[in-house]
């Protein structure tokens, strides 16, 4: 399987990345190099195998498991500290280009 220039444009759009034409060509070549080594996994028989999304899942059967914590706010309000590194802030709000005309 090989990706096409159209695939690259579509992925770049989905990933919110602007690519110049030379970057698109380079990305296409290198990502296709990568998919050449990926093809081997399609031949592996995984019938009946449960996906392992998370390593803690491999500990199933022990008393270790993924947990949920109580749904309570545990962090104090730190709006000012958290917004200190924002590119554009006004009156405690993040500024972005106009979205609604």
């Amino acid at each position: 399987m090989s990706l096409t220039p159209t695939d690259i444009q579509r992925i770049a759009h989905l990933a919110r990345l602007e690519l110049q034409p030379d970057e698109q060509a380079q990305a296409l070549a290198k990502i296709n190099d990568f998919f050449a080594i990926v093809e081997q996994i399609r031949a592996v028989d995984t019938t009946g195998v449960e996906p392992l999304p998370h390593p803690v899942d491999a500990l199933a059967g022990t008393d270790i498991a993924l947990r949920l914590r109580p749904d309570v706010a545990s962090e104090p309000n730190q709006r000012e500290a958290n917004q200190r590194s924002a590119p554009a802030v006004e009156r405690g709000l993040f500024l972005v280009p106009k979205v609604i005309e």
């Binding site: 602007e18 970057e23 990502i31 190099d33 996994i41 590119p87």
Partner: protein
């Protein structure tokens, strides 16, 4: 020489020197800052040092030492890989995206080390967002290997490994997603360990691949790694939902145990050797260089002499680790890195149109080529029509890899193998060939995918004019870090590879 120089002392030795008050924490900090400022390997990031902050921490440590209230690392300088956020130093993750970024809080790992009195020297260079095996993907320039400045230090924790090897810090933090602690530790001749997934809190560790990322120490001996790992690990249940609810441990407890009684049953340690990686009779094969082959079997001879036994094992599905990892990690990265959008923190494109254009231009300017590639690969394998064939299939093989390890650990106590197929390669040699970099990760990826603890320790040198260090990888079962460190320490009690430095003096 009766008195060792400060930078020749390990973590435990320095802590003892400081406790004896033979030298102050401020003097120690000044000594290391001077070395860090004079260093030409690029281990610390530009702007990664702030002597005023470091010296203020050192003065506070001196006050606690004087009052007798110091922690186990009181006054010991450490440096942090720049993916750990720090309140007092800028945090960039090696990316332009976060140039000048100041976190409002310290990562849990950083805070735990500080609670025990560690003094922060500064922030260390790394591959951008920890994506790389050579430290050539940093937006702030490559790091050079202290053993041969024409070579890479490994990655992604390349700055951490180079700084420890060059004696700029007695130890450093690193992170390991697919080998990023073990491989640079091997290439720079130091010791590093990645614990079981979930042992160390990921709170404040800038996420690359959340189901793989783990923090760990990098130092000059297994004993020092054990001390640091004991401080770094422990539950952080409110702040990291993947933090294991397993009590903190003293990982130094078994260091002195002889290998003749280090097995799970109290008998001799049984070391499993994956036959598809290394077979003594087959000679160097599977891309393993003769240097790696020779040093590995010499190390096995040493361990046999110490009472260990060997068992050939199979990890058949580990052969698929490269495609599996390079599907899962980019998939998770594409999601994690969506937070960098030019709105809440970090870089924002100066020229932009609407909101979509702001996102696209900001990310185009802020991310480097490798990060963009992995985001695109991840986006693709998660997209409609490809999810089952790639992402889900990779997760199923990940399960098979984890199962292989459990079958192996039914027959052995630890698994030994090479860290990488070769020694450190030349700067630029693979810089334009991402797949060549991926292929070199073959031996470290399987343990990462399974979430198992793994470590690297120096086990020999190449015959190059400038001898290059070779690492030995040890992989343990879940939560079995103490046994790994036991084996590594026993090896280091009978070898001096870990005490050699690039400048030729034994520490």
């Amino acid at each position: 020489m009766s008195q060792k120089e400060l930078h020749q002392q390990g973590v435990a030795e320095l802590a003892a020197t400081l406790r004896s008050r033979a030298v102050s924490a401020v003097e120690v900090a000044q000594h290391f800052l001077q070395r860090a400022q004079a260093d030409a390997h690029g281990a610390f990031l530009p702007g990664g040092l702030d002597p005023e902050v470091t010296l203020a921490q050192a003065r506070a440590a001196d006050a606690r030492l004087a009052a007798g209230t110091g922690g186990c690392l009181e006054g010991v300088p450490l440096a942090h890989k720049d993916v750990f956020v720090t309140r007092d130093f800028a945090t960039t993750a090696g990316s332009k995206m976060l140039q000048g970024y100041r976190s409002p809080f310290d990562a849990t790992v950083v805070a735990r080390l500080a609670e025990q009195g560690a003094v922060t020297l500064g922030k260390l260079n790394c591959d951008e967002f920890a994506m790389g095996s050579a430290n050539e993907n940093s937006a702030y320039g490559p790091v050079k290997n202290p053993w041969d400045a024409a070579r890479i230090p490994g990655g992604s924790s390349g700055g951490s490994a180079a700084a420890v090897a060059a004696g700029l810090t007695p130890a450093a933090t690193g992170t390991d997603t697919g080998g990023s602690i073990r491989q640079p530790a091997a290439f720079c001749g130091i010791t590093g360990i990645k614990p079981t997934y979930g042992r160390a809190s990921r709170y404040g560790m800038i996420a690359y691949a959340s189901s793989l990322d783990q923090a760990g120490p990098m130092a000059r001996s297994a004993a020092d790694c054990a001390t640091l790992l004991s401080v770094m690990c422990g539950p952080d249940l409110d702040r990291d939902s993947t933090s294991l609810d397993v009590p903190a441990e003293d990982f130094s407890r078994d260091l002195a145990r002889p290998l003749a009684t280090a097995g799970k049953d109290g008998g001799p340690l049984t070391i499993g050797v994956p036959t598809q990686w290394l077979e003594k009779e087959a000679g160097p094969a599977h891309g393993v260089s003769p240097t790696i082959y020779d040093t590995f079997w010499q190390a096995m001879d040493t361990l046999a002499g110490l009472g260990a036994r060997f068992k050939p094992i199979g990890l058949p599905n580990a052969d698929h680790a490269i495609p599996v990892y390079y599907i899962i990690a980019p998939a998770e990265a594409s999601s994690n890195l969506s937070r960098f959008d030019g709105v809440k923190f970090g870089h924002r494109a100066a020229q932009h149109g609407d909101l979509l254009d702001l996102y696209k231009k900001t990310r185009a300017e802020g991310f480097g080529d490798e990060v963009k590639r992995r985001i695109m690969i991840g986006t693709y394998v998660l997209s409609h029509g490809y999810y089952d064939a790639y992402y889900l299939q990779a997760q199923k093989i990940r399960r098979l890899i984890a199962n292989d390890f459990q079958s192996a650990f039914a027959q052995c106590d630890v698994i030994a193998g090479p860290v990488a197929p070769t020694v450190a390669w030349k700067l630029g040699e693979k810089a334009d060939d991402p797949v060549a970099n991926y292929l070199a990760d073959i031996f470290t990826l399987p343990a990462s995918l399974a979430g198992l603890p793994g470590m690297s320790l120096p086990c020999g040198f190449s015959a190059d004019a400038r001898p290059l260090p070779v690492g030995l990888q040890l992989i343990g079962n879940y939560l079995d870090e103490a046994r790994l460190l036991n084996v590594a320490h026993q090896f280091q009690q009978h070898t001096d590879f870990h005490r050699r430095t690039p400048t030729g003096d034994l520490t």
